[in-house]
């Protein structure tokens, strides 16, 4: 699974990264976490409000940080069957 965090260094972007990493640990899955910080990269996903969450090239969340429980749900839904 490839997880991307879109956002150019806002405080919520750091929060989102933390929650994502915690949720990955909770699930015990292997995932790549990558930060996309350049504007062109962020915009190319059709996103303007940061932070945003992209899993396997699919935009899952825009402009908000979910709590840990909700993040685990989002990752679970995105797991390949």
């Amino acid at each position: 699974m490839k997880v991307k965090i879109l956002g150019s260094g806002c405080s919520n972007c750091a929060k989102l990264e933390k929650v994502v990493r915690q949720a990955i640990d909770d699930l015990g899955i292997v995932a790549d976490v990558e930060k996309v910080q350049d504007v062109a990269g962020i915009i190319s996903y059709g996103v303007m409000s940061t932070p945003a969450l992209v899993i396997d090239e699919q935009v899952k969340l825009v402009g908000k940080v979910p709590n840990r429980v909700r993040m685990v749900e989002i990752l679970k839904e995105a797991l390949p069957q």
Binding site: C10, V39, V65
Partner: protein
């Protein structure tokens, strides 16, 4: 009920005399703090619920087919309800330009969004009453429309950094939020804002309460009353470095108003605090050439000064 609670704490618990200065100041402080925190929680929750139906992505779509004026009016109004923080100013700006939103319309959005914000609304409503809050919102929207139309007319597209025009925006479809998600979003936003502003609110109300109890009535009429020519530019200059501190500033401005500061001066001060912010200009520098930032700041400053003098003249 809040007043009764404040009276109880001040006069029964601390056994202060209602006629003493310390007593009035503390009574005022407890009552105002409680009122403002309750209003912040309730109103920001409702505003965030409304906002969960809007997004910058959706606003971009609405504005993309609009022409001058109608576009400016819509952009200024959407600026109020679209969730936006200055940290997203760059992607929002590029996204708007890419969608063919005219430059002046984009600026109407960029002016209205921070100026007519929910914290300023609650604080003005709570401390000055709904009439002045409504005047502030209406004037803010008009400033955003006028500022945007002027920038649009000046044809300054060449003062946007060239790379902006090369960026292509992708498409993404997000599932609509459920009501539970909307409520969660609104609630987390309330917590977020309260965490950020509570200390400023308390300090602002404490200073306000102190001045309310100790400063002589009408002592500002001479310096900041409707007849003072220098008060408006002075408060606009003071407002610039106070960015994002509407929460702490408004209780103090409220007491200045009570002690004789003119309404136009109050409005100009508030607008300069919320709309003229150095951090946002630094962020926008990534997409705008310095000359355009200068023109933007210049137009905003002149419009805000005009609002100040106009209201002082009407009230005089």
């Amino acid at each position: 009920m809040l007043q009764a609670f404040a009276d109880f704490v001040t006069f029964k618990l601390f056994k202060l005399l209602p006629s003493s200065r310390l007593g009035t100041a503390l009574d005022f402080f407890i009552n105002d703090t409680l009122k403002i925190f309750i209003m912040l929680a309730v109103i920001i929750f409702l505003v965030s619920l409304i906002r969960s139906f809007f997004s910058p992505e959706r606003t971009r779509k609405i504005l993309s087919q609009k022409k001058e004026f109608v576009g400016n009016v819509l952009a200024a109004l959407l600026g109020i309800v679209t969730p936006f923080c200055s940290c997203s100013a760059v992607p929002v700006f590029i996204g708007f330009v890419e969608a063919g939103v005219p430059l002046g319309v984009t600026f109407s959005f960029l002016i209205s969004s921070p100026m007519v914000n929910e914290v300023a609304l609650v604080m003005l409503w709570g401390m000055f009453g709904w009439r002045i809050a409504a005047i502030y919102i209406a004037t803010g929207v008009i400033v955003a429309i006028v500022g945007g139309v002027i920038i649009g007319r000046l044809k300054l597209e060449h003062l946007v950094e060239e790379y902006v025009y090369d960026i292509k925006m992708g498409e993404s479809e997000l599932a609509a939020m459920t009501w539970r998600e909307r409520v969660d979003y609104a609630w987390s936003y309330v917590v977020d804002i309260l965490k950020r502003v509570w200390l400023y609110v308390i300090i602002g109300i404490a200073i306000g309460g102190f001045m309310h109890g100790y400063a002589p009535a009408n002592f500002l009429v001479k310096y900041a009353g409707p007849g003072s020519w220098y008060a408006v530019p002075l408060v606009v200059a003071i407002g610039v470095p106070l960015y994002s501190n509407a929460a702490g500033i408004i209780p103090i401005v409220n007491v200045l108003f009570e002690k004789g500061m003119a309404l136009g001066t109050v409005l100009a001060f508030m607008m300069s605090v919320t709309a003229l912010s150095l951090p946002e200009m630094i962020i926008l520098r990534k997409v705008l050439k310095p000359k355009l930032i200068g023109i933007f700041v210049g137009i905003l400053t002149v419009t805000i000064l005009f609002v100040g003098y106009l209201f002082n003249w009407i009230m005089h």
